[in-house]
Symmetry: C2
Subunit: 340 residues, 2 copies
């Protein structure tokens, strides 16, 4: 089907393009009779305004970009739900890009967004990011940026996070109170801000409560992680408590324990950050630190729109939305539940 332009409309009606444009934009400079003629012809010809021509005039793309490490993750999908709720109310479109924890991919994605395609960017940096000049480049082009969850120290902007260190400490304390003596933290080798702070909290709790402590390096491949965790569970360290900073690693721990016939929580107690609905239905139910994911998405997006509408860039600022710790069977002492 042919795509008609204002020029086609103009020549069909014997009017100037300027008159057509004024009529379609409901300008008071056109008399109502002309306006009706133009609109009737536009409908008849199936004319639709061209968004790019219109964006060129307004210099607004009505689009925001969202850059996240992955999407098959309850936390990030709930964040997007929150972002989308706000964006829709503002009549905005949401572009989603995934970095898959690859810093180079992230740099390229961010560069793609400096071309005027988006009015602002919401971002959770990839685990492997060390230097973030690419994010600062957005700001220097007057594109507002809000970071959430995984933030970067060298980017001065608004950051919306949870109380990662505190939650890590609570997890360590809970494991100590449940009688653990040797605890391990799972950790991604590609360091992210949240991973680091959560582990620091667990480590400080271990020190305070006199527990032995170590970490297990994990990668993005679940098969390799399963092997590393199985190996660690059979090592001389023999952990009796474990902390996972993300839900997907907790599921690998369940898998490893199942294979090795290690009973949770009898032989190993487990606490994890987890936003999945299924956490309470696992065997045994998982003690979870639940982040306010929808709210993080919502507030990040609202703050971004403030910057877009009022044409300013955020200074360095942090908003902390606390998570909650829900105690379930996976971290309980053996007399606190009926085992067998």
């Amino acid at each position: 089907m042919q795509k008609f332009t204002m020029k086609d409309l103009a020549s069909r009606l014997g009017l100037s393009i300027a008159t057509i444009s004024r009529a379609l934009n409901n300008s008071h400079e056109t008399n109502s009779e002309t306006r009706e003629r133009v609109i009737a012809m536009a409908v008849e010809m199936g004319y639709t305004p061209d968004v790019y021509a219109s964006n060129l005039r307004s210099r607004k793309s009505k689009t925001i970009g969202v850059i996240i490490p992955e999407i098959t993750n309850s936390f990030f999908s709930q964040v997007i739900d929150g972002i989308e709720t706000v964006a829709r109310k503002q009549g905005y479109h949401v572009l989603i890009h995934l970095t898959h924890e690859d810093h180079e991919r992230e740099v390229n994605l961010v560069r793609l967004l400096t071309d005027g395609r988006v009015d602002g960017v919401l971002m959770s940096v990839s685990g492997s990011a060390k230097k973030n000049d690419h994010i600062n480049a957005l700001k220097s082009r007057n594109i507002p940026v809000v970071l959430f969850d995984r933030i970067a120290d060298d980017v001065k902007t608004l950051k919306i996070i949870t109380n990662d260190y505190h939650c890590g400490f609570m997890a360590g304390k809970l494991l100590a109170k449940s009688g653990c003596k040797r605890i391990s933290s799972l950790s991604f080798l590609t360091d992210s801000s949240v991973d680091y702070k959560r582990r620091a909290g667990v480590e400080d709790a271990a020190r305070e409560y006199g527990l032995s402590y170590t970490t297990i390096g994990c990668l993005s491949d679940p098969e390799t992680n399963l092997e590393s965790i199985k190996c660690h569970l059979q090592s001389n360290f023999k952990p009796d408590g474990m902390f996972s900073p993300v839900e997907k690693l907790a599921l690998v721990v369940y898998e490893a324990c199942k294979t090795l016939d290690i009973k949770i929580p009898l032989d190993l107690k487990l606490v994890s950050f987890a936003n999945m609905t299924a956490a309470s239905l696992l065997q045994p139910p998982l003690t979870s630190i639940i982040q306010p994911a929808f709210e993080i998405g919502k507030q990040s997006c609202e703050a971004l729109f403030k910057a877009i509408k009022n044409n300013f860039l955020h200074g360095d600022e942090e908003i902390i939305l606390p998570s909650i710790l829900v105690e379930r069977e996976s971290s309980m002492t053996c007399n606190a539940f009926s085992h067998k």
Copy 2:
């Protein structure tokens, strides 16, 4: 920071805008000395081409739209993963819109995408869609559309689905073979194509194997569903087998059984469509029909790019990517596993 235009470059260098444009577009009509002067000045001034001006020329937005009912759902997040993998390779951006099962919202979203913002649309229609003129409107504006998972009969285009009816039948047959006599299918009151076909399969299997059969109407609110399911489990029908067409309803069944102290699979056997990793770790592990979600996203996106690149619209055609049934404890007969 100031945004420079070609006009600024032109006046700084004392050249015409046409010359600047030719130089930046590497045209052979410009001599190399001029080209180098222009590029050097462009770099010095921090000039970046405007994507909207450039789109206006090429009439390609380099963006595809994805419209799905929800994102906090393992199936849809895995589909997006597949879509994004293909789009990235093509240098395309992905706009994501959620309908939350609301037909009116879907109609408005689709209208937003007819303005030239996207070069093509991938879509899973909302459960409540009866008439789909809005989707056909995309096609009549020469915007290719591929439907996946939840399709619509009145839209003639490529549809990528799984073998929904067959999987429903397999589920019903499995429940019969496990000794069930009275089975119930969960169902959304707002009918979707997949929901309908899956239930039809279960119902036909029930008829073939001589089982009593009924359906339980569900809505989008989990609290209401929990009450309906609890109510049904205590009704005179007293089901001993249950089928869920989506994973989130299966989790509500677990919840209901926990509250009512109904043992799965001893008192109730359960089979569900489910793509979540946690399915095998639930108490008991869930017998799951797993859709090739990543592959559905990948193939839908590849087919869409074929249409975009070669400037054609798909005719009415279906591609069926089969799901697999993974039998686990939730549907087993009591002597097939060691209970207690």
